[in-house]
């Protein structure tokens, strides 16, 4: 221990910390100082509008009907799709499986039992997110916590709202199942899709990664051809014939932004918040708001050129914007976010197409 002798008349040395300590004890100030630099740079070295590079691998699992591994920065998720068969009993009314709206959404639970304090039975597509895999220090092991439940519900709603899977490919018909039959009386069963998302490593923005993994896994799924067997009176599958699950034409993708408040000062031109594309968990913890844009983009991965993306105006359609809280985000900011979402969606489409084309 060194002893300090107070010096008379001179200024005491200011209290300073090393960068890593500063990062730990005052995250808000640490982030703000980064954004006040020019050009503004995030602690992870990215610019505010830059998203992390991601990788996609599909169908690497042997027991799933379709699977995808998505890794974006230090966030890694695995999505496995498994089809199971739901046999319609003679007295049943299959109409409740015929539309997305009959299955409960987060706002109005058709079954009503969740409102009554219990859980409800779901629709044909059953998404679940598992975070208690030791993916991060923050989330305890055991039954799903708040975040996992919220995510499962959000993804469930996204699937329903976007009508991602066309229900045609989930129906199982009587006999040979020729395409002309549409009468519901001929429907003997349905494919029920279990969409399980396991988070292997968590470093922020799990919604985007999980949604992309779900879309990619569904896109690469192959279900065995199932048909009703008259003599056995049950549904059998053919081990040699597989068919893809048909999804909607233009695939929707989500892009998430985090809103970080800035102190009001003249240095930053009066701006009071900064929008970060694809936040990591350090930034998420400090964010006052999360903005998620669900959009579809017209992008031809064969002819399109990703390097010229910002200049080529991508035709994009916003399907949903979710922003919780009341922080002011102006129209121009929303517009620039939409552009960023479009370019990210284009990148998603490109790597998905590349993955589909590569022979396994």
């Amino acid at each position: 221990m060194s002893t300090l002798t107070p010096q008379v008349g001179s200024q005491p040395p200011p209290l300073t910390f090393s960068t890593s300590l500063f990062r730990q004890i005052s995250p808000a100030l640490y982030l703000q100082r980064h954004f006040l630099r020019s050009p503004p740079t995030r602690p992870n070295g990215r610019s505010p509008s830059q998203c992390r590079d991601f990788t996609l691998t599909t169908n690497s699992l042997s027991h799933a009907h379709g699977s995808a591994v998505v890794r974006a920065g230090d966030t890694a998720v695995v999505c496995g799709i498994r089809g199971e068969i739901l046999t319609v009993a003679p007295g049943d009314d299959p109409s409740r499986f015929e539309s997305y709206h009959s299955s409960p959404t987060s706002a109005t639970h058709a079954c009503g039992s969740r409102g009554a304090g219990g859980a409800s039975w779901g629709g044909l597509i059953v998404p679940n997110v598992e975070l208690s895999t030791g993916c991060s220090k923050k989330y305890p092991l055991g039954p799903p916590g708040g975040l996992a439940q919220t995510l499962s519900d959000q993804l469930h709603e996204l699937i329903n709202v976007t009508k991602l899977v066309s229900l045609d490919s989930l129906r199982i018909y009587d006999g040979d199942g020729d395409g002309g039959i549409t009468s519901t009386t001929k429907i003997k069963g349905y494919w029920s899709l279990y969409v399980d998302v396991l988070c292997i490593s968590l470093d922020g923005n799990i919604l985007d990664a999980a949604w992309y993994a779900i879309v990619a896994a569904l896109k690469s799924s192959r279900l065995p051809l199932a048909s009703w067997n008259q003599t056995e009176e049950r549904i059998f599958c053919d081990a040699s014939l597989y068919h893809p699950i048909s999804l909607r034409q233009s695939l929707p993708f989500t892009t998430t932004f985090a809103l970080i408040p800035l102190p009001h000062s003249e240095d930053n031109g009066g701006e009071t918040a900064v929008l970060l594309n694809d936040p990591d968990s350090y930034e998420e913890d400090e964010a006052c708001e999360i903005l998620t844009i669900l959009s579809t983009t017209d992008f031809d991965p064969v002819r399109g050129d990703l390097s010229r993306l910002p200049s080529t105006g991508l035709r994009t359609r916003v399907e949903k914007i979710e922003k919780r809280g009341g922080w002011k985000v102006g129209l121009t900011q929303i517009e620039s976010c939409t552009h960023l979402a479009a370019s990210k969606a284009a990148r998603y489409i490109q790597s998905l197409t590349k993955e589909q084309l590569t022979p396994v």
């Binding site: 199971e84 059953v126 030791g134 993916c135 029920s192 292997i200």
Partner: protein, 335 residues
């Protein structure tokens, strides 16, 4: 799956209940033959092991052995919660958890851990608990979480119905008594190897790295069908790291899984299931255990390389040897 009470915390399937797809095969002869591996019996499958892939936990590893894929993360050592009910712990409390992903096997598993997963967890605990220097971490806990993403099992055979003379018969082909033990044994051995790699990555002090090994003894099918006992033991085939399908014309006798510390020549966990007898004074169990140890030694080589690679990576990145990882490297050199 029969409709039980719905899970309050998860999205649930339709209330009608769903069944896994059942395949129809016109004759049992057309069934899928088990794939014969070209691997010699004393060679284990190639192991892919990488540590430190998960940045937000203390230590992690990813292991891949042919179809088996698993990810391990180590949380801690972190302090025990300060509640009045927490007893004083002079040594670190180790918890191990093994969970199959719902899509990791042919029959979909639920999210609630079943008995085989709990069993694997407790065996993994046994294998690791003796190797960790727990007295160095008082009043803290270390959690080892294993997530199995893919595993080798029966494939679609279990769900195949064969039609013979117009009548459907459910046959479980290639099913034999030691099958599930063999499948679980390979998984457990992988868990042990990957978990000690993750513990080393976390910089937790250990006496030695534990590697897992598995071996199965087989006899000719003819011998197993109630002939003299002398024949039974005559030509035995030991297979290290056995595949799910037995070698042609052979019937499995016993499977041995162990956790082995090579530098200390100690077995930390031993699990033998099946029939082991005595031959000319030397026990067959010894032979089986020796085979499993040989498999564990081969896995140890991979473990050493992974740990070395990781330490090198850290040294290259920071320019200095990490203080906490020094111990594990030292141990490694003697092993």
């Amino acid at each position: 799956m029969a409709a039980k009470a719905p899970d309050r915390r998860r999205n649930n399937p339709p209330s009608h209940g769903t069944t896994p797809p059942v395949f129809l095969s016109s004759s049992s002869s057309g069934a899928v033959k088990p794939k014969q591996s070209s691997r010699p019996p004393d060679e284990i499958r190639k192991i892919f092991l990488r540590t430190g892939l998960i940045s937000s936990v203390t230590g992690s590893s990813f292991l891949e052995i042919a179809p088996l894929k698993l990810s391990v993360s180590v949380l801690g050592p972190r302090p025990l919660p300060r509640t009045s009910s927490t007893p004083f712990a002079a040594q670190a409390i180790l918890t191990t958890e093994v969970k199959f992903a719902p899509f990791a096997s042919t029959v979909r598993r639920g999210y609630i851990r079943d008995s085989s997963e709990r069993d694997l967890g407790s065996r993994l605990y046994q294998a690791l608990v003796g190797a960790i220097r727990r007295e160095l971490y008082p009043k803290s806990r270390i959690e080892v979480v294993v997530t199995i993403l893919d595993s080798e099992d029966e494939g679609d055979d279990v769900n195949t119905v064969y039609i013979e003379e117009g009548k459907a018969t459910v046959e479980t082909k290639f099913w034999d008594a030691g099958r599930s033990e063999r499948a679980l044994g390979v998984v457990l051995a992988g868990c042990i190897t990957a978990a000690s790699a993750a513990l080393a990555d976390a910089g937790i002090e250990m006496f030695d790295l534990v590697s897992g090994g598995v071996a199965t003894s087989f006899v000719d099918e003819a011998n197993s069908k109630g002939k003299g006992k002398g024949h039974l033991v005559s030509n035995k085939l030991y297979v290290r790291d056995p595949a799910i399908a037995p070698p042609g014309g052979k019937t499995p006798l016993a499977t041995c899984v162990l956790g082995y510390m090579a530098a200390r020549d100690e077995i930390s966990e031993l699990w033998i299931s099946g029939k082991v007898g005595t031959k000319n004074g030397t026990t067959e169990m010894d032979e089986l255990v020796d085979e499993a140890i040989a498999a564990a030694r081969s896995a140890r080589g991979v473990l050493n390389e992974a740990a070395k690679e990781r330490v090198q990576f850290i040294v290259d990145k920071t320019g200095t040897a990490p203080p906490s990882k020094g111990e594990t490297t030292d141990v490694e050199m003697s092993g």
